[in-house]
């Protein structure tokens, strides 16, 4: 088995513990639900998984995040969009770039750059 092919949920306990500890220190809830995002970034950087497998992992995580009424972290929708673009699904890619922009207007210049490239 590839050293880098970690299960999607692998970093979640660590992430959860860090957030828990942060929460203790600052008395405020986390701004985002981190389910699956950073492991997905790790998977992408290590290039050990097929795009569709990465899409499925992110879509599952998104479903979990949204079912709890939480917000995915910055970059989540953009990465999903990039993965859709790499599988030739330009329409879904645009939708995800749009979702990133809507959640985080700060992302507008880069999302516009990506949108232009993917069209």
């Amino acid at each position: 088995m590839n050293k880098y092919s970690r299960k999607p949920g692998l970093c979640v306990p660590v992430a959860a513990a860090v957030i828990l500890l942060t929460g203790c220190a600052t008395q405020s809830p986390p701004l985002y639900q981190w389910t699956g995002y950073q492991p997905a970034v790790y998977d992408y950087l290590n290039r050990g998984k097929a795009p569709q497998e990465q899409i499925d992992a992110l879509e599952n995580a998104l479903e979990e995040i949204q079912s709890k009424g939480h917000t995915p972290p910055p970059g989540f929708h953009a990465q999903l969009g990039m993965l859709y673009a790499s599988t030739g699904n330009a329409e879904r890619a645009m939708r995800e770039f749009g979702a990133e922009k809507e959640l985080f207007p700060e992302s507008a210049p880069y999302m516009d750059f990506l949108t232009k490239k993917s069209q």
Binding site: C11, P13, A17, P30, Y42, G75
Partner: protein, 221 residues
């Protein structure tokens, strides 16, 4: 006699100076430039890697978003950024970090960029025990002016939890991770890197990033 006295006095004074130096309060971070800049979005550039472990850069980079985003900043999507650099022929962290601030701002639209360097990553084997240690340093640079806004460094070790404190942060994190996924043992460096990343880039005084606009604590620090 007076010679001996002055000699003793000399020793006493140097001992005092030495102790005073030790006792000096921890130097507080100067937040003046950071406060004036007030960045909203941060680009996390891939860290350069001074270690022999080729996995260090990806491991750290993939875990740097959480502390910075939770501190209240928009973080430019890390994997997408990596792909953009790749498509422009840039794959090495050192080359990427050499890109001009103006160009980075033009493409990514970020207000500031974080330049970081991994100085230690992996397991050190000693006679009596071994420890997995990850250490890194970083600076935050305003992409509009080129000013350095903040500097920091941090490290974490798998041995921290073995102290008399009975557990500690690392112990808790590693125990939590192992409980869930036994496989975690094979990639302990990656888990430790997550702690280092959090310690390096968390928001709040005395040495963390200032809280950003998306934090309820924005402008309270």
């Amino acid at each position: 006699m007076s010679k001996l006295l002055s000699f003793r006095l000399g020793i006493a004074l140097s001992a005092l100076a030495l102790l005073a130096a030790c006792a000096q309060p921890v130097k507080h971070t100067d937040y003046t430039a950071f406060r004036n800049s007030r960045p909203r979005s941060i680009l996390l550039l891939p860290p350069t890697n001074a270690t022999t472990d080729v996995n260090a850069t990806n491991s750290m980079l993939s875990q740097m978003t959480m502390p910075v985003a939770e501190a209240g900043y928009y973080v430019v999507p890390v994997a997408v950024m990596d792909e953009t650099f790749r498509q422009n022929g840039l794959t090495m962290a050192a080359d990427i970090q050499a890109t001009s601030p103006a160009k980075l701002r033009e493409i990514f639209g970020a207000d500031a960029a974080l330049y970081s360097d991994i100085t230690q990553y992996g397991t050190v084997y000693r006679v009596l025990d071994s420890a997995t240690v990850v250490a890194a340093s970083a600076k935050l640079v305003d992409l509009r002016t080129g000013d350095v806004l903040w500097r920091g460094h941090a490290s974490a070790s798998s041995n921290e939890g073995n102290n008399s404190s009975g557990g500690g942060l690392i112990g808790m994190l590693v125990a939590a991770a192992i409980k869930q996924v036994v496989n975690s043992l094979t990639d302990r460096s990656h888990d430790i890197a997550g702690v280092t990343s959090y310690r390096l880039l968390h928001g709040g005084p005395p040495d963390g990033l200032l809280y950003g606009p998306r934090s309820p604590r924005y402008e309270t620090d």
